[in-house]
C-alpha cells in the first residue's frame, strides 16, 4: 500500500470511530462532550512544538512560539474546564445517595432511573 493510501485509511477509519463513540450520547452530556473534544484538538500543540523546534530564523520562531502558547491554552484549558464541569456531575451523585439514606419524608422515593 502506498504511503498516502495508508494515511487515507487511517483518516477514514478515524471518522467512523469518531462517529461511533458518541452516537448514543444523551443531551445532558453535550456540553462536556463538546468541551472535551475541544481539548483533544489541543494536540495541535505537538505540531506547534515541532515547527518551533525546527525554526531557523527569529521571525519564524516568534510566530511558531505564538502557536505554542495558543495551543497550550487550548489543550490545558480544555481539559481543566471539562473536569470542572464533570466534577459537579459526580459530586451531585454522591450527595444524592446521602440524601436518600434517611429517606426524605414524602419525597422522591422511586428507584434510580439508571
Amino acid at each position: 500500500m502506498s504511503e498516502p493510501l495508508v494515511w487515507l485509511t487511517v483518516f477514514i477509519l478515524a471518522i467512523f470511530v469518531g462517529n461511533e463513540v458518541i452516537a448514543k450520547v444523551s443531551s445532558t452530556l453535550h456540553t462536556p462532550l463538546m468541551s472535551g473534544a475541544n481539548a483533544i484538538h489541543g494536540v495541535i500543540l505537538l505540531g506547534a512544538v515541532l515547527v518551533a523546534g525546527s525554526a531557523d530564523t527569529t521571525p519564524v520562531l516568534v510566530v511558531a512560539l505564538l502557536a505554542v502558547v495558543l495551543a497550550s491554552i487550548n489543550m490545558v484549558g480544555g481539559f481543566v474546564v471539562t473536569d470542572r464541569m464533570l466534577q459537579m456531575f459526580s459530586g451531585r451523585r454522591r450527595i444524592a445517595k446521602v440524601d436518600q439514606r434517611p429517606g426524605l419524608p414524602g419525597g422522591d422515593t422511586r428507584e434510580l432511573p439508571r
Binding site: 494515511w7 487511517v10 483518516f11 478515524a14 470511530v17 469518531g18 463513540v21 458518541i22 450520547v25 443531551s27 445532558t28 452530556l29 453535550h30 456540553t31 462536556p32 463538546m34 468541551s35 472535551g36 473534544a37 475541544n38 481539548a39 483533544i40 484538538h41 489541543g42 494536540v43 495541535i44 505540531g47 512544538v49 515541532l50 515547527v51 518551533a52 525546527s54 519564524v60 510566530v63 512560539l65 505564538l66 502557536a67 502558547v69 495551543a71 497550550s72 491554552i73 487550548n74 484549558g77 480544555g78 481543566v80 474546564v81 473536569d83 470542572r84 464533570l86 459537579m88 456531575f89 459526580s90 459530586g91 451531585r92 450527595i95 444524592a96 419524608p105 414524602g106 419525597g107 422522591d108
Partner: protein, 460 residues
C-alpha cells in the same frame, strides 16, 4: 525527520486514550475518568514529541508552553459556569489559530525546501483556510455570548453578495496555493479565511450560537487532522479526525434537539427577517401576583414541576431554588425539574448549572420523560426560561423557533412565571403562554423573588 518506532507506539497509546476519553464522555458514570484519561494521553503525547524529534530552542518553547498552560488553567478555573459556552468558544478559537499558524510556518518551510508535493500543499492550504475561519468565527461567537456585541443576527444590505464574494475568493486562493505555492498567497488566504469566519457567524442568532461553536469545533478538528498529514504526525491526524467526526455528529444532534436545520441556522437570516424576532416588550394584559399568593399555590399543590432557564443562572438563584424545592419536598409535594435539551445557553448547560447547586440527579427529568406528566401537574414554576415553553414552536409556522420540541407547560393546571420584565426570551419572540388564563406572573429578580417565596412557603 522520521519518528522512531517507540514514539509511534507512544502516539498510538495517546490516540487510544483520546478514543476512550470521547467514549467515556458519552456516559455520566465514566465521564470524569474518561476526561482524565484523555488528559493523560495528551501529556504522554507532549512528552513524547520532545524526546522523539530534534527540538531546537528548547527553553523558549518550554516557556511558551508554561505561559499557555497558566493562561488556560487560570481561565478555566476562574470562569463562572454560566460563562462556560463562551470560554469553550475561545479555547476552540485559539486551537484553530494555532493550527493555521503551524500550517503557515510549514508552508514557508516546504517552499524553501523546494519541490513540494501537491497533496502536501493541498493539506496545508486546507489547514490555513479552516483554521482561520474557526479562529475568527469563534471570536465572534465569544463576543456574542459575552454580550460584547448584539446577540441578534447581524446582516447589512448586500450581505449575501459580500458573503458569496468572500467565499469564492477564499476557495480560489486555497486552490491556487497548490500550483502557485508562495508564502504571500498563504498569508492572503489566511486573511480571507478570517474575513469569511466573521461573515459566517454574524448572521447567526443568539440562540443558535452554541451550535455554531460545535461546528467550528469540528472545523478545528479537521484543520488539526490536515496538519497531521503535513507534519507526518499520525496522532494529529487521528485526534483531529476524531474531533472532526464527533463534532460534526454532535452539531447535528444539537441542531435536532432544537428542531433547526444547520442550513437554516447559518443562512436563515440572509433570506429575510424570518429568524429576527421583534424583541420588544408587549403591553397586553397579564395576570400577576405577589410571592404570598404563589406560595399558597405551591404549598398546597400535590405535583409541582420546575422549568429552569438561563435567567435562573444569570441571577445566581440555583441555591435558593434548591432550598425552595427542599421545603416543598418536606411538605410532601412531588417536585421535579424539567430540563429542556437546550436549557441554558447550550445543550446540557442547565444540568451543569444545577449540578453546581447540588441538585440531586434524580430530580432532573429530561423532556421526553416529563412531558406526559404535565397534564397531571398542579403548578409549573418557570424560572428564567421562556422560549422552551413557548407554544408558538408548535402552533405558529412563522415563528423562528417553529419545530423546536417544547416542554408542555401549557397542559398543566397552573403556570407561574418568575420574570424580571415582559421582555421576550433569547429568540426574541412573544410567548402566548404568558397571556393564558391559567398563567400567573411573578415579577422581580429571580433570586430575590425566590427568597421571598421560600420565606412565604416556610410560614404556611
Amino acid at each position: 525527520m522520521t519518528t522512531p518506532v517507540w514514539a509511534q507506539l507512544s502516539y498510538l497509546v495517546a490516540a487510544v486514550c483520546f478514543i476512550v476519553a470521547l467514549k467515556g464522555l458519552s456516559s455520566p458514570k465514566a465521564a470524569r475518568r474518561g476526561n482524565l484519561i484523555g488528559a493523560a494521553g495528551a501529556v504522554l503525547a507532549c512528552v513524547t514529541v520532545f524526546f522523539a524529534a530534534e527540538i531546537d530552542h528548547l527553553l523558549p518553547i518550554l516557556v511558551a508552553v508554561a505561559v499557555g498552560t497558566v493562561i488556560g488553567a487560570v481561565g478555566a478555573y476562574r470562569v463562572q459556569m454560566t460563562q462556560m459556552p463562551q470560554l469553550v468558544a475561545l479555547f476552540n478559537g485559539v486551537g484553530g489559530g494555532a493550527a493555521a499558524i503551524v500550517a503557515l510556518v510549514e508552508l514557508n518551510k516546504i517552499i524553501a525546501a523546494g519541490s513540494p508535493g501537491p497533496v502536501e500543499l493541498a493539506a496545508t492550504s486546507f489547514t490555513i483556510m479552516i483554521g482561520t475561519i474557526s479562529f475568527a468565527g469563534s471570536v465572534v461567537t465569544f463576543l456574542k455570548l459575552q454580550e460584547l456585541m448584539t446577540s441578534r443576527p447581524v446582516v447589512f444590505p448586500g450581505y449575501p453578495l459580500a458573503y458569496g464574494a468572500a467565499l469564492l475568493a477564499t476557495l480560489a486562493a486555497a486552490v491556487l496555493l497548490v500550483p502557485v505555492a508562495t508564502l504571500w498567497l498563504g498569508i492572503v488566504l489566511a486573511v480571507l479565511g478570517l474575513v469569511l469566519g466573521v461573515l459566517l457567524v454574524l448572521p447567526v442568532g443568539g440562540a443558535d450560537v452554541p451550535i455554531v461553536i460545535s461546528l467550528l469545533n469540528a472545523f478545528t478538528g479537521l484543520a488539526v487532522a490536515a496538519s497531521g498529514y503535513v507534519l507526518q504526525n499520525v496522532l494529529l491526524l487521528v485526534a483531529g479526525t476524531l474531533v472532526g467526526a464527533a463534532g460534526t455528529l454532535l452539531t447535528r444532534l444539537m441542531a435536532a434537539a432544537m428542531g433547526r436545520s444547520l442550513f437554516n441556522i447559518l443562512f436563515g437570516s440572509l433570506r429575510g427577517g424570518s429568524t429576527l424576532g421583534g424583541g420588544v416588550a408587549s403591553d397586553r394584559p397579564v395576570r400577576s401576583a405577589g410571592p404570598a399568593d404563589v406560595a399558597i399555590l405551591l404549598g398546597y399543590a400535590e405535583r409541582v414541576i420546575i422549568v429552569p432557564g438561563y435567567g435562573l443562572a444569570v441571577a445566581q438563584a440555583q441555591h435558593t431554588l434548591k432550598q425552595l424545592v427542599d421545603v416543598l419536598l418536606e411538605r410532601g409535594t412531588k417536585v421535579d425539574y424539567a430540563i429542556h435539551p437546550v436549557a441554558g445557553r447550550m445543550p446540557g448547560h442547565m444540568n451543569v448549572l444545577l449540578a453546581e447547586a447540588q441538585v440531586p440527579y434524580e430530580q432532573l427529568k429530561e423532556m421526553d420523560e416529563i412531558n406526559p406528566e404535565f397534564k397531571q401537574t398542579d403548578v409549573v414554576l418557570v424560572v428564567g426560561a421562556n422560549d422552551v415553553v413557548n407554544p408558538a414552536a408548535e402552533t405558529t409556522p412563522s415563528a423562528p423557533i417553529y419545530g423546536m420540541p417544547i416542554l408542555k407547560a401549557n397542559e398543566a393546571k397552573q403556570v407561574v412565571f418568575l420574570k424580571r420584565s415582559m421582555r421576550p426570551g433569547f429568540a426574541g419572540i412573544e410567548n402566548e403562554l404568558l397571556f393564558e388564563p391559567t398563567t400567573t406572573l411573578l415579577f422581580g429578580d429571580a433570586k430575590d423573588t425566590l427568597a421571598k417565596l421560600l420565606a412565604a412557603v416556610k410560614a404556611l
